[in-house]
Structures are given as C-alpha cells and as structure tokens.
Subunit: 337 residues, 2 copies
C-alpha cells in the first residue's frame, strides 16, 4: 500500500482545490469564533479514472442517501455542516425531489401582463417545510457544499477540511459516510491511448495490482500484453485520527455484504485507528438497520416496519445518537481539563 | 467477440423489462396509427458491474447532454420521442436547472391561512418557456422516458424498442447517442465475494480479456491469483441496421480523442453496418463542432463563437440537419414505391 504522504506527493490536487480550501477556511473560522459544533459529512462514491482523458472510470456505487439525509439532521441539531459530496450525488433538501417532480408540481398562470408560476396547492404542504429549512440553512450560512469526483480529489479535500477542523478540537465531528475506492491507478500507469482502446487491439490485457509497487516490465505477462497496476489506496483514517484532527469525534462507516463479518471488522478498524465509533451496515438492509460499534460496546439501531412506513428515515436516530455521544465526549473532555 | 444472439441467450433481461416493453409498445402503436414520425434517442453512459451485488462498476462517462438536448429539438420538429437514457443522466427540459437552482428560484409567501410558493419574478422569463414546452410534451404524450443502467439493460431495451419501431419503416429515426461500453464481464466471471475484496487478500489480481472466451482455469496466471475475463460487447448496430429496423433512418455517433481518425473510422462504420449517417466528434470540441459522415459525403457543422456565447446549442442545427435528411429519405422511399 502506498504511504499516505507518498500519495499526496505523487498526485496533484484538483483544479478547484484552492477555491475549495478558501471556502473551507472561511466557513470554519467563522463557526469556530461562534463556538459552534461542526460536522464534516462525506457522501457519495469516488471514481478511479482508467485513462488520462477520463472517459472511462471505475465507480463505487453510492447515491449519497446516507450522507445527504444525515446532513439535514445535523442541521436540526444546530451543527454547522460541511457537506463534502460526490459531484451530482444527492444533496440535502433537494434530494427529496427529482427534476421531473419539480416540474410536475408547478402551474403556469398567464394574465394579460405576465406569467406567474406557482407550486400547486396540493404540493405545498409537502414542499414548503423542506424549502423553508433549505432557505434557513443557506441564509444562516450553516452549510457549506464542496464536491469531489475522483478518489484523488476526495483525498485532497479531506485533508484540507481536517486542517481547518483541527481548531475545533472536541467540537468537531467527522462523519465519513462516503464510499471511497480501495484502489487507484497511479498516474504513470494510465495509458494514452486508453487501456480500452488497447483492449480492442490486443489478444490479452491485464489489470494487475500488487501490494508493493513494481515497475511495469515486471508486470508484463508472458504474451507481451500491456499491463496496468492497481494500487491500494492508503487508509487516510490513520493520519486523520492520529495527526490531523486528534481531538475530534471521528465516526467511520463500514459496509459489508456478509452479516457475520460486520462487528469483527468494525472492531478491527477501531483497534487500528483508535477513533470513536464505527457505524456498520449490511448492503441489503442498510436503510433500516445499522450497528453502532464503539471501543467498549456494540448495539443495533433499527427502524420498525411502522416507522419505515411512516417515512421515518434511519438517519434521524443515527444522527441523534451520534450527537448524544458527541455531547458526552465534549463533557468528559471538559472535566479532564 | 460474443455473437449478439449469444449475448441475449446468456444475459437475463432487467427486472423492469416487461413494464418498459409494454410502455414502448403502447407508445409506438399510438404514434404509428397517427402516422407520426418517431425518433429513438439513446443517451448517457452504460455501466459494467464488477461484482454480483454491484457496488463497483466500470462506467463510461456521459452526462447525457447530447441526447437530452437533441430530444427537445426533435419535439420541436413534431417527432414522437422515445428518450432511452441512463438512469439519473440529464433529461430534456429538467436538464436546464439543478436541484439547488430550483430551490433558489422559489419564494415562500405566508398569509394567515396558508403558504404559497412561487417562482421569483426575475426567474419566470427563463423558466416559463422551458416549463411550458415540458408540459405540452407530456400532455400531448409526445415523449416516453425509459431508462437503463448497465450495458445489459441497454441491450435489452434497445432490441425491444426496435421491435416496436420496425412498423414505422422509413418514418423512424434511430439516434444512438448513448456511450455504450465496449466490454463486459460475463455473469459466470463475476465473483462472490467481490473481486475487490479478493484484491485486498491476494498479492496479485488480474482482469483478463481475451478475444475468444476461455475457461477460467486457462486464465489463471502462474501465481494462482484469480482472474476475470472482460469480453467484447457485440456490435448491436449490425443486427439493428440489417434485421431489426432495416427500413429506418439509423444515425450512430462516434467519439474519438484523435481528430485524424475521425472520418476514417466513421467511414469504416458506415461500410460495415450500411446505415445512413455517422455523427463524429472529438471529445474536447464536441460541444461546438461535429462532422456529418454519410456514405457519399462528409461535412462539418459548427457553432461560431458568437452563436456559442448567445447560448445556441449545437444540437439544434444537428437535429435540424438530421430531420432534413430524414425527410429526403422518406421522399425517395415513396418515389421508389
């Protein structure tokens, strides 16, 4: 696995990086002065480009449901929210309606002078509370949106956000709900022309991943086909929890397809990175059941059938529980001082 | 390369296939009775799942700009439009506004009795014409939306649409703007647990693609790492143009990164599939320049700087040209009868 420092040394920041860093800095400084609690919510999947011009990439599927819903509930608890999300993934508030749903809610009225367009009366009841919350969050500047696409973008933004969050010490929550790729293709392994163009012209083609980086010629298979190394992405949770925001309340997520591995793997992660909480879930049941795993405890949180039918989202009790734990964490830190 | 019939024999249709087929059938029968012209617009990229539970996939990048804009212009020319698009890619009309743009255009007014929500007066001028066109297209049932995600979904929908379009004979246009993957991973080559989970546990891992399908054991590299075959997707343009809709006006798109290959490759495609038109473009300049390549001719179509600044979209002249060619094509078919 690449060491995390090497990763930043060998990958350039995205083009909009300095703009985002300024936004993060301004947002954090303002809320730190106000002594607000703050949460970084990461959301959506990352891409791994397969070629320089980035027509093709490997994607981790994530619509961003967990992150975008959670961001809304953190706002309800008066947290300042940095919503760091995959470009085009779901966003707080707007997530409730698709483009066509918006259009279908609208009526046009023409009079002699001009047109007016209004939300149909029967949609106002559903729409007004969502719109009102959105407007308040924007007007009070309690939410900042920053976005990423590739795993490299994500890594740069994550570190920049941590640099700004460090000053909050215990008042910061990191809520790392994004689905980050495990691997990437190093810059010098990306082909021009694209690997897929090569695919068409050769009998055989290998994507090769080795634990230790090996030079290309060693990767060649016997038949002379070109090869590409897939490298494991460094686990940023390690420097994040120990160096970047050592005082913050760090929450990671673990998505498994095997129920039996859930708690074991969550516990492994806590032992390795020494952070505060893993929220573990199984792919198929993640919308109504999660397991909270702390260094000392583990327990399930789930929606009943009635709650789900009433439209309750599991992110509401998840966030309430995290906020409760975060409050306790701040109190005990204050008592130690 | 897999033969196209084998592809359908070895890949199940998507879960919503029969629903979509019924919709296509109803839509086509209605418009065929009305003697309307019809266009199938395909739009957006396809995915290739890397594992059964589909957390990770390879994606072809395409926002769906070309297809969604073109669909609007075909409606302007009184075509019935089947808009067959990648789930969550851009759609006609709604493509002009993101979720936050919608929210920011709206004002809430509260009086003692109830709330009303209306589009701000300064946004009405921009929004009203788009909304009005959307409403007309829906009310007159001139547009049908069907969507796909994976390349397998796409293949099934494409054939089903063609089966319904055949009855239109010369009155049908196929406008194949979707970015379809060149390769796929056969069902029996997808791993459980996921290949990426295996990645983590093994020193080496190969994605292998062979022109001729080979059994797994032959694909194993010397060190015992698991392998996955990537197969070339059959070129559906072959059965489509010669068997499924032999009388239709078929337009394909060619996206290249190398300007010099543009016309040569477009001409190759026309020679091979015997369809009517290739619209060729280079990735970097595709928003303001395309090349029309017919069996006898090739010419450029581009936006001037002023046109681009005025907000003209290149899809407007592209569609106007296709509609013109399609009209000529119908006339000459009628003269032959």
């Amino acid at each position: 696995m690449t060491h995390w420092e090497d990763f930043y040394n060998t990958h350039l920041p995205p083009a909009d990086f300095e703009d985002n860093r300024s936004l993060l800095k301004e947002f954090c400084e303002r809320h730190n002065k106000l002594q607000n609690r703050i949460v970084l919510v990461t959301s959506g999947g990352t891409t791994v480009p397969l070629e320089h011009n980035t027509v093709r990439f490997v994607d981790n599927f994530s619509a961003g449901t967990r992150g975008s819903a959670s961001a809304e509930y953190f706002l309800d608890h008066d947290y300042a929210v940095i919503f760091m999300h995959r470009h085009k993934s779901l966003e707080p508030f707007t997530r409730h309606f698709t483009g066509q749903q918006f259009f279908d809610m609208l009526d046009i009225a023409d009079n002699s002078q001009s047109s007016t367009i209004a939300i149909k009366p029967d949609s106002v009841d559903v729409f007004a509370p969502v719109l009102a919350k959105y407007k308040i969050a924007r007007e009070t500047q309690m939410i900042l949106y920053v976005n990423f696409t590739s795993v490299v973008d994500y890594m740069w933004l994550l570190r920049a956000a941590c640099e700004c969050l460090a000053a909050f010490e215990e008042r910061a929550v990191l809520y790392l709900a994004a689905a980050v790729s495990d691997f990437y293709i190093p810059e010098d392994m990306m082909h021009r022309p694209s690997p897929v163009a090569l695919l068409k012209s050769k009998l055989k083609f290998h994507f090769v991943r080795s634990q230790n980086f090996s030079p290309t010629h060693k990767m060649q298979s016997g038949d002379g086909a070109p090869t590409i190394s897939l490298q494991l992405v460094p686990k940023m949770l390690a420097p994040l929890a120990s160096l970047w925001v050592p005082h913050a309340f760090v929450v990671s997520f673990k998505l498994e397809t095997d129920e039996n591995l859930l708690i074991v793997k969550a516990r492994d992660s806590l032992n390795k990175y020494k952070h505060k909480l893993v929220i573990a879930n199984v792919l198929q049941t993640r919308k109504h059941r999660v397991v909270f795993v702390t260094p000392t405890d583990s327990y399930e949180l789930h929606l009943s059938r009635e709650q789900a039918l009433q439209g309750l989202e599991i992110e509401e009790p998840i966030v309430a529980d995290v906020v409760q734990k975060h409050g306790d964490f701040i109190s005990s830190a204050e008592q130690r001082q």
